[in-house]
């Protein structure tokens, strides 16, 4: 049993108590079952201003990572001028978080000069690979930068996925919000595509080296792999994918659903 599992089991002890108490109730749920998540704790633990001015206007797009000692939380920090940076907080118990500063700043005169956001971390052979949304002059691209420790990142930043510039596709004018599944030496990248419409759709690209991504054609709308749903809560589409490999070996995804 891992250290993280032990910590999460301790956190779940309150859940078990809740269930034992609720067992005396005659009705344990109403309506249709859903993937159920229990707030812990009920209030947010990272709030705007957590690290001073750098995140005074917003704390967005969290990315969790367990490094063997600490739980790291990378996130998009929005300052009082609405500049987006990637910041880090660390914790040992999920309850008390320590600020760890900014790990990636926008760089003047480059493809991410207007903002860096939506961090996605993948650790491979001890190296930290950060994929993020790079913004410049209204264009959003997905870029990559690496680090030996996840704190100090290399000066070398690379665009790994451009907009398709194809007017028939859902990602013609922008790509953002990367989520990576690294499996069998293949990087699977789910991302949001932008085409100027209000709909949110997700695409897929793959790579063998993390830099050269091959955009795939999905069977949802306009080449997307995941589009609008029919059941109300995501009839406007999907954004901010989070993909992972489940214990049964299938690929799963949580996503931001948009309902108009």
């Amino acid at each position: 049993m891992t250290d993280l599992e032990n910590r999460m089991k301790k956190l779940l002890s309150f859940l078990l108590l809740f269930f034992l108490l609720s067992a005396s109730s005659s009705t344990l749920y109403g309506g249709r079952p859903r993937f159920e998540l229990v707030p812990y704790p009920p209030e947010p633990l990272i709030t705007p201003g957590f690290q001073g001015d750098i995140d005074s206007q917003g704390v967005l797009s969290p990315e969790l990572l367990w490094d063997g000692h600490f739980i790291r939380l990378y996130y998009t920090a929005v300052d009082s001028n609405n500049v987006e940076r990637i910041a880090l907080a660390v914790s040992t118990d999920l309850l008390i978080w320590e600020p760890a500063g900014v790990v990636l700043e926008p760089r003047e005169g480059t493809f991410d000069q207007d903002g860096v956001s939506s961090p996605e971390l993948v650790v491979i052979d001890g190296a930290y690979h950060l994929f993020y949304t790079a913004s410049s002059s209204g264009w959003n691209r997905i870029a990559h930068v690496s680090s030996p420790d996840g704190f100090q990142f290399s000066d070398k930043r690379t665009i790994v996925l451009e907009p398709s510039y194809d007017t028939d596709r859902f990602d013609s004018i922008g790509v953002s919000s990367p989520s990576i599944l690294y499996q069998d030496s293949v990087f699977y990248l789910m991302y949001r595509g932008h085409d100027g419409s209000p709909w949110r759709r997700l695409g897929l690209a793959t790579s063998h080296n993390g830099f050269d991504f091959d955009r795939k054609n999905g069977n949802a709308e306009q080449g997307a792999f995941f589009g609008r749903g029919r059941h109300g809560f995501d009839d406007g589409g999907a954004d901010d994918p989070e993909i992972w490999l489940g214990s049964d070996g299938t690929v799963r995804m949580l996503y931001t659903s948009l309902h108009f």
Binding site: S26, P33, E36
Partner: protein
């Protein structure tokens, strides 16, 4: 409005399993939007971080949620039968976890309560439910009959779930 949805069996044929629960009560810090999920999965335990927006359309923080890989919950853990009105009751059990839940067996401790459940085992996908008819056949109509139904599964919260049965 932004909420968080869940889908399985990707990439090419995503199976939508609905919206996750536990988010976005009006007036809460995440009452307007809950979005941008990030998941840490460790064995049977799932930790989710997400961003919340309050109803004045401001970023209000990053919060955390805990979930389980397999989570069996009955709709009710007490079924009461009146043999003259409802000799058959329906038991509903749902999977509230992120992965498949295996129902291994069900058995009643009292033969007065019999199950119409032909399968020895059953797999419940996430957000799926199973409805099982239970028939009450009293020996003596004037006597209260008690029993329990035991559901064996691989739920993370315990392999046996007990449903209390009472009939008259």
């Amino acid at each position: 409005m932004f909420r968080i949805g869940y889908a399985i069996d990707g990439f090419f044929n995503w199976d939508r399993r609905g919206m996750v629960s536990g988010l976005g009560i009006p007036g809460d810090w995440n009452g307007l939007h809950s979005r941008s999920p990030s998941l840490l999965a460790e064995s049977d335990f799932l930790l989710l971080a997400f961003e919340g927006w309050s109803e004045d359309n401001r970023s209000s923080g990053i919060g955390f949620l805990i979930g389980l890989e397999r989570w069996l919950k009955p709709h009710s853990n007490l079924l009461v039968f009146d043999s003259s009105i409802n000799p058959v009751n329906l038991l509903e059990i749902g999977n509230y976890g992120a992965g498949d839940l295996v129902i291994e067996s069900l058995y009643s401790t009292n033969p007065a309560f019999s199950l119409d459940y032909p399968q020895n085992s059953h797999i419940l996908k996430p957000a799926e439910k199973l409805v099982i008819p239970i028939r009450f056949t009293p020996g003596d109509r004037n006597q209260l009959v008690l029993g329990t139904l035991h559901i064996r599964s691989d739920s993370v919260l315990g392999r046996t779930t007990v449903i209390y049965l009472a009939g008259y």
